[in-house]
């Protein structure tokens, strides 16, 4: 394992020190491993909190700031944070208007956030609502399984719902919007390589040079299928087709994200975006806005994911609203 670290067990603490050094506009609670905005939540504004395992940067800490999150809880690499962290963030970020927890659908994340919401409501009476994202079409949805994973839509949701919270919408309205955004988005990911979790010291899985994994999540895990490596046009097709088969994106504008998994250079991400855009045009899907880059990553995994979100005028207006975070910044 070759990594820019001091020691595997110190990765998270050391990284949070770096975040604090780089972003004086943020407040970092090193004990509870929470990143807050530098200024307290405005009175009457619903607070948005997310969190999850580390290793997905810039998600979530990179999305704390004006127009997006109020706080992000960082767990160990690929391990959800603990309920006491989320409870603390909930207590601190609440301005009296309530708190929305944005949770990616993973067993651990859901259980820990549930416990946190129960604890926060019982102890402090803070009103907590939550939305669980589950946009990954690689996973068959069924009541008998853990359900679809929450992936790329989480990024778009934090932006859109963050803008709505800045507008002063109340907790019920913000929660309703979050539910609608999640329902309107779908994602599909692929990997050329696995990644190396620092505490494990070696790649999570081995894969020959002529093979790739289709249908991966964001934890360096194998995907649904291992198939022969193909050209970018074919890979784009293998990602876009299952998304379009799952939801009709031809009825209105969409926001498209071509997301890197952390170990793929931007030149390849743009190349892939070009292929995806071609396919979408052929399928009659109109891209109104796009994002190309590393937004929800899987450490040093090479690969990418495609996320499409059906976006009406309301979503587009909120998408275009000012945002000022380490990971997304425009309109300022």
């Amino acid at each position: 394992m070759k990594k820019l670290i001091n020691a595997p067990e110190a990765v998270l603490a050391d990284a949070l020190n770096g975040v604090a050094a780089a972003h004086p506009e943020l407040k970092v609670d090193h004990v509870n491993r929470i990143i807050y905005r530098g200024t307290p939540t405005r009175k009457g504004k619903v607070a948005l909190i997310s969190g999850g395992g580390s290793g997905h940067e810039p998600l979530h800490g990179g999305f704390v700031g004006l127009g997006m999150l109020d706080a992000a809880c960082a767990g160990e690499v690929f391990t959800s944070p603990t309920p006491d962290q989320m409870q603390e963030a909930t207590k601190v970020a609440d301005s009296g208007a309530g708190v929305l927890h944005i949770v990616k659908n993973y067993t651990g994340d859901v259980m820990n956030f549930e416990m946190a919401a129960e604890m926060a409501e019982a102890e402090t009476g803070v009103k907590v609502a939550s939305v669980v994202t589950n946009d990954d079409v690689a996973v068959e949805d069924s009541t008998w399984t853990a359900g679809r994973r929450g992936v790329g839509v989480t990024v778009l949701l934090e932006k859109i719902v963050g803008a709505a919270a800045e507008e002063g919408r109340d907790l019920a309205a913000v929660t309703d919007l979050a539910t609608r955004v999640n329902a309107a988005g779908r994602s599909m990911g692929m990997a050329l390589t696995s990644c190396t979790v620092p505490s494990a010291g070696k790649p999570t899985f081995e894969i020959p040079d002529d093979m790739m994994e289709i249908g991966v999540g964001i934890h360096g895990e194998p995907g649904r299928h291992r198939v022969p490596l193909a050209g970018a046009a074919s890979i784009a097709q293998q990602l876009v087709e299952p998304i379009l088969a799952d939801l009709d994106f031809t009825k209105g504008p969409v926001i498209a994200m071509l997301n890197g998994m952390g170990g793929t250079p931007l030149i390849e991400l743009y190349l892939m975006y070009g292929e995806v855009a071609k396919l979408l045009e052929k399928a009659g899907v109109k891209i109104a806005r796009n994002l190309v880059g590393n937004y929800i990553t899987s450490l040093d995994m090479a690969g990418c994911s495609v996320t499409l979100l059906k976006a009406d005028d309301e979503f587009l207006k909120l998408w275009d609203a000012p945002v000022n975070t380490a990971g997304l910044r425009w309109g300022i």
Binding site: G53, G75, E76, V77, F78, T79, S80, P81, T82, P83, D84, Y106, T107, G108, M111, N112, M115, A138, V139, E140, W144, T145, A146, R149, V197, S199, A200, T204, F205, G217, H219, G220, E221, P222, R224
Partner: protein, 214 residues
């Protein structure tokens, strides 16, 4: 019935042995988790049980409920992931059910662990055959009860529980996961032992060790 009792020292020894076993098997647990999960089960369990032993090593727990509530809360607040809330809930419920006793007889220990299992099910919503820790824990408790009912003492009952947990663990290998991160692999999860069931077998190995006769 001369089943004997598990003293506070023996129950503490259970936890200490569990810590030693997950530490010893850390790489193996992580390896299993790499195959069908996200490669952190070994390090998470080791971090959690080390935090537990640091907390209770300072002593001070005067009764079973105090001990296990402290163990449960420490796991919930130090582990994260799925194993934090699940193992944490297991021990919290043991504490809540056992009450302020200073020792547990077989019936009381069984009732406490049953409550722990119910807590795990309530939190994780797992059923038999989902390829989770449930598949090792449920048969272990059944074997524990059957052994006690047959008139065995705690040493024999906990040894029977360990044997059943190992069999339950091994039976997860061909299963397709329906809960937890392994479920995302669908049929590709078959052919691997479940990491959670594997650490649960260690939990009962630790119990059998702590309650073994003299």
């Amino acid at each position: 019935m001369t089943a004997g009792t598990a003293s506070l020292d023996q129950l503490t020894d259970w936890l200490s042995r569990f810590r030693d076993l997950v530490t010893e098997q850390q790489s193996y647990l992580t390896e299993l988790d790499s195959a069908i999960g996200d490669a952190d089960h070994g390090s998470n369990m080791t971090r959690g049980m080390n935090a537990v032993m640091e907390k209770i090593g300072a002593g001070g727990a005067g009764a079973v409920d105090e001990l296990f509530k402290s163990v449960g809360m420490t796991l919930v607040t130090s582990v994260g992931g799925a194993s934090g809330p699940l193992y944490g809930t297991f021990f919290l419920r043991i504490g809540m059910t056992a009450g302020a006793a200073t020792a547990l007889d077989g019936t009381a220990l069984s009732a406490a662990m049953r409550a722990g299992l119910e807590g795990v099910v309530a939190r994780g919503k797992a059923e038999a055959g989902d390829k989770t820790m449930f598949d090792a824990m449920a048969p272990a408790l059944d074997a524990f009860d059957a052994s006690l009912a047959a008139g065995d003492d705690l040493a024999a009952a906990s040894s029977a529980a360990f044997t059943a947990a190992v069999a339950g663990r091994d039976a997860t290998e061909p299963l397709t996961a329906r809960k937890g991160r392994a479920s995302y692999l669908g049929e590709r999860s078959a052919g691997h032992l479940d990491p959670g069931a594997t650490s649960t077998a260690l939990l009962f190995e630790a119990l059998a060790g702590a309650l073994a006769k003299g």
